[in-house]
């Protein structure tokens, strides 16, 4: 996974990084992802998960993807359950604390049909950051001595040449593609992200390609009025897809909170027979709808309104 520096640069150089419109459909954007790619997913747990893009990738029946994300929630179940991915790199993997341990994750990993490769939260963040900075590793003082580190192959320990301190070096991670959902961006891919940023800025810079989904496409003029609010520069972006409620039933900061009832129902559905539960869920919500608005209709307008009311309340202070 530690990419050769000159290969990384060559890949970047080969991209068209000029100021050009990158607006396309979800379906078209799936063509950017190749079978076998390593995909990094933006957001964290049930927040700003690029679910519309994941939905499209599952429908496009991609193969053999590996995935990394700071913390993985229900999208991990669906990636395993759909068969498009059998290897997830993350620090924590379950729907969320209130719903207990993911039965789907357990089922797939305990039967060894899929791999959950565990890194500490910060060390995964540092891997993206090293990738974003164009250096092959980042030193850290964490994770030493633990079985988390013992289980990983791609680590090195050194004695600091300045201080003599023992340090762990974690390797850079430059994903093939990063999927990031934002509140707004322009047609070129200049993105603003409100609220929690998670690891998304490093992700965008580290990745070889970036697909942005956005609640709303705004004018480049609006972006240029407050350039200090741009969090992801257009240079790094290869696709822009406008998808309202593109993180539903997860949360998008300031716009909607999680669709809690739907999340409860999902937990119930996958509790007793996780394999069949996730298959049923995929059929109903991923394969049967003919487009994203149909998917949203299945979530239901009532839940949309409720999640939106709660989402907007964060600014009522």
């Amino acid at each position: 996974m530690t990419q050769n520096y000159l290969d990384l640069r060559a890949a970047t150089e080969a991209r068209d990084r000029s100021l050009r419109s990158k607006v396309m459909t979800l379906e078209k954007a799936t063509e950017i992802v190749q079978d076998g790619d390593h995909i990094a997913i933006g957001g964290c747990t049930a927040s700003r998960t690029p679910l519309a893009m994941i939905w499209a990738l599952i429908r496009a029946k991609k193969n053999d993807l590996s995935i990394s994300r700071s913390i993985v929630s229900t999208e991990g179940d669906l990636l395993f359950g759909s068969g498009i991915c059998d290897h997830i790199i993350t620090s924590w993997f379950s729907q969320g604390i209130v719903w207990g341990i993911s039965k789907v994750m357990r089922s797939y990993t305990e039967t060894k049909r899929a791999k959950f490769e565990e890194w500490s939260h910060m060390s995964l963040g540092l891997r993206y950051r090293a990738g974003a900075m164009g250096i092959p590793f980042m030193p850290t003082r964490a994770m030493m001595g633990s079985d988390v580190a013992n289980q990983l192959e791609n680590l090195r320990e050194i004695e600091c040449p300045f201080t003599g301190d023992k340090l762990l070096l974690v390797p850079a991670l430059n994903p093939d593609v990063a999927l990031i959902h934002v509140q707004r961006c322009d047609e070129y891919g200049n993105a603003q992200i409100d609220g929690l940023q998670f690891m998304d800025l490093d992700l965008a810079m580290a990745a070889n390609k970036v697909i942005l989904t956005t609640e709303n496409i705004v004018s480049n003029d609006q972006i240029r009025r407050r350039p200090d609010q741009t969090k992801i520069p257009f240079l790094t972006v290869d696709a822009v897809v406008e998808v309202p409620y593109g993180a539903a039933p997860h949360e998008c900061y300031g716009m909607y909170e999680p669709f809690f009832k739907h999340m409860d129902d999902y937990a119930d559905l996958t509790k007793d027979d996780p394999d069949n539960g996730v298959a049923k869920y995929l059929d109903r919500y991923y394969y049967e709808p003919s487009n994203w608005p149909e998917y949203l209709s299945l979530l239901g307008v009532e839940q949309m309104l409720d999640a939106t009311r709660r989402g907007r309340s964060i600014y009522d202070v």
């Binding site: 341990i101 939260h121 910060m122 993206y128 964490a142 988390v148 690891m199 490093d202 900061y253 202070v317």
Partner: protein, 257 residues
């Protein structure tokens, strides 16, 4: 175990007792659930200058009673916060030395305070694949720790199946020798007692018993030979004020049930 007629739940006991360990002015890295409740309780009762950090990237929020967040990574965590940072940057505050106490739970803990939240059974063929470390490994690698956990034999084991979050590893100076030169386990708080660690051997040691709990009871519920300090004290039962603040924070008893 707690007798039935006590006017508080085990979770309330954990929250109150661990909250009391925090000092005013401290910066506390807290998980959701009991750690968050305990830190917020401490803020309201005796430590208004305590700052809470969440690994989702929140610095110094005001938690709204009745709207407790379900994870550290959602907007509810950010209400009236002083600052939002990236995940990596908020965790780096630990490495830079800005955090006084890390505060978490765990599935298993052993004699040397190592925590397991990854595998029950062998990592190769686990009986349960747990959700994993999250920020736990980073927090316990880089700062002083308080662990809040229910006191059960299956949780207090001789050796954890997997060291997710390092305590004192195999005791004595082994933590330091492996490169973890700062931080370490400070206290383990349960519904029965408060434990510290022997200064030399780093073996777990009972420091205080909760009202009505005997050393025997603690031994019976611990899966290893736990040290009992000579001057074990007895904690003060949760006060009405503490309980009422807790119940105000969590009116639906999501975490304190």
């Amino acid at each position: 175990m707690m007798s039935e007629e006590l006017p508080y739940s085990a979770s309330e006991m954990l929250s109150v007792m661990s909250g009391r360990l925090l000092t005013d002015g401290q910066t506390v890295f807290a998980g959701v659930g009991i750690p968050l409740l305990a830190a917020t309780l401490a803020q309201r009762i005796h430590g208004p200058g305590i700052t809470i950090l969440f690994e989702g990237g929140t610095l110094g929020p005001f938690v709204v009673p009745g709207e407790l967040p379900a994870s550290t990574n959602e907007q509810r965590c950010t209400r009236r916060a002083n600052m939002l940072l990236s995940i990596t940057d908020v965790l780096l505050l630990l490495q830079r030395g800005y955090v006084d106490v890390g505060f978490m739970g765990g599935a298993q803990i052993d004699r040397y305070g190592n925590l397991n939240s990854s595998f029950i059974g062998s990592p190769e063929n686990p009986s349960v694949r747990l959700p994993g470390t999250g920020g736990g490994n980073d927090i316990s690698s880089l700062t002083q720790m308080i662990v809040a956990i229910k006191h059960e034999k299956r949780r207090f084991v001789e050796k954890v199946d997997f060291v997710t979050s390092p305590g004192f590893l195999t005791g004595n100076s082994t933590r330091h020798d492996t490169g973890l030169i700062s931080g370490g386990m400070y206290r383990v708080v349960t519904d029965l007692a408060i434990m510290g660690f022997d200064e030399m051997t780093k073996s777990m040691k009972v420091e205080a018993l909760h009202p009505g709990v005997t050393a025997e009871e603690v031994r019976d519920n611990t899966g290893f030979d736990i040290l009992i300090g000579k001057d074990v004290s007895v904690t003060k039962a949760p006060t009405d004020e503490e309980l009422s603040v807790l119940r105000h924070l969590d009116p639906d008893r999501v975490y304190i049930a």
